[in-house]
Symmetry: D2
Subunit: 192 residues, 4 copies
């Protein structure tokens, strides 16, 4: 069971950092099966799109947002403030090094970016996670999706992948133009 808010894209303070789209945030939190008191780690948090949804889903838990880009860190802070989330802890730095600042074990891991250290991040996620914990990784590139799927099968059980392509109706002169968002690979697994 996950408590899903489904914040709209326009609710967020956004910069030039690309943000996961609403439907992908909803699916990510639902597939992560986030519970009220879960400890969630959001690695490569970006603007904090998923962080805020994860925070909403964990009123009795905690969310670590790991991010290294200064502009993104600033946006996470601003979004946390406007959404009134005081159980988000920002971990400034690059994974996997920065991850040592997280108190383990954790229940759930979101991977939104890997900065080229994917296997290290998978290894850390597996070690840091409780048995039965879940992990969801989102990718926009073919190579990262293929590589992540390999690590998901190596370190976790029940590895699954979906590719989600969403087009949003855009009202043009009374008609509905289908405007495509870039397809996203969502890869999920569980600690056995």
């Amino acid at each position: 069971m996950s408590r899903i808010k489904g914040y709209k894209d326009e609710c967020y303070i956004r910069g030039n950092v690309p943000m996961t789209k609403r439907e992908i945030r909803i699916l990510t939190i639902a597939l992560l099966e986030v519970k009220d008191n879960d400890i969630v780690v959001d690695i490569g948090a970006g603007t904090g799109g998923l962080t805020m949804e994860a925070a909403y889903a964990t009123p009795k838990g905690k969310v670590y947002a790991v991010e290294t880009k200064p502009e993104a860190i600033q946006l996470i802070k601003e979004n946390a403030r406007q959404f009134g989330c005081d159980h988000i802890q920002l971990i400034e730095g690059r994974a996997p090094e920065a991850l040592k600042n997280i108190e383990t074990p954790v229940d759930k891991v979101i991977i939104g970016g890997t900065g080229g250290k994917m296997e290290d991040i998978f290894v850390w996620s597996h070690q840091a996670m409780v048995t039965g914990g879940r992990i969801v990784a989102n990718f926009v590139t073919l190579e990262n999706a293929a590589e992540a799927m390999a690590f998901m099968k190596k370190y976790f059980i029940e590895a699954e992948l979906i590719q989600v392509a969403i087009s949003r109706g855009d009202a043009i002169g009374g008609l509905t133009l289908l405007r495509a968002a870039n397809p996203i690979f969502i890869i999920t697994g569980k600690k056995g």
Copy 2:
């Protein structure tokens, strides 16, 4: 806020009646913004895929499942029993006639099938719904999507449409074949 269970497809007792896929169920309930004590009407409930998710999301509310096909009605009953949902009321019959057996007002309406009476169903939904209530309609055909979008704009506010195309990774000899599900149009609106 919606409490989303995200039941897997294989959790359901299924017949030959096509069933909304898991990701579409998750998005539908999230976009409907189902609350704990909502009264939800699921018109054209089919196998009950969305009914069960709606029931999970409304522990203090109620779900009406409207369906006319005997095979589908039987599956809804069996699924309600296995999921332990005792706040689902089955309305056997065809919309819009059968809808008069529903106690109004209601909070949320799901349209999964219209049997050719789409405008009547939209009119009923609008009349039966509280101000601020939400409606989500799912379609697999182009014509129904276009028609529903027109009625959504006529009777409701904040009409939005997305088309969702999901491919699921299928493990074939250690590789991940992308197996496409048919694209779904999800149309949402709100009673102004």
Copy 3:
């Protein structure tokens, strides 16, 4: 049999007028089954993307490009010049009125835009075309696609529709980001 050049998008002189993407141009000409000596009418020619491919496919035929927007007309002229196509005749004006300037019968019709006069354009296309002639209509909006499919079935035989969603790999730091183009509805028919 169609002779397909497959001009790349960047070969065209382009303005702010949106242009059909390369893959859609290829599919459109192939599904239109353009022959060497065909007379082709491109209604709503825009930048001339399809006009140039049709011109390539008809070395012994002729292509009428019907367009009303001055900026688009200018681009068609410039593209015809740079591609060295001297068997394109530009019909400046709005369909269906402007279509009376076309010498009939014709073999093939492309519909790229309808300006709200869709049935008139279908009626003209049917009347102007030889028996066994083919028609292909491309749309980006749900409503136009649904309406065109209805007219295709009313006036032509073998009406078929496909929706084509193409993502193009974009090289980002050695990785391949999938960048989605908006999905296109391609509707085809034949004069019975």
Copy 4:
């Protein structure tokens, strides 16, 4: 310039061997830029879907169809007979070993299957091909697409990838249901 026939799926004699869909065949031959007198090699020819289109496109050239599965070989023979193609040479065996039976140089290579020997096949393709020759590889799995893209960039120039998702309208009670085909990765390159 490619001469494209666009044979329909139902024109082929088919078995249980999966066949590339019509739109993918059209795009593949167009992106391969097959010319009248080209020598084309179709590696992993399967049912011969692409082989027949390549044969149509090369009235003064030749097509080698490389395939190892007996059932598929039989279907290629039957399809070549019914399409009246006498310039197809069947190479029975597994790539890359079987490729030594092909007279080089060749102009174009199609890769439809690799049987786990992908790099060897790319190396052979590069060596066997004239400068300026083109190669198109089609894949249904994520891993093969990612791996092929890496080899395409390693051995060829102008490496490009598209993912093509096509839904075909299926007439259901006067409505048009969108039925999705599995998405295909089409990767192209050129010998520099």
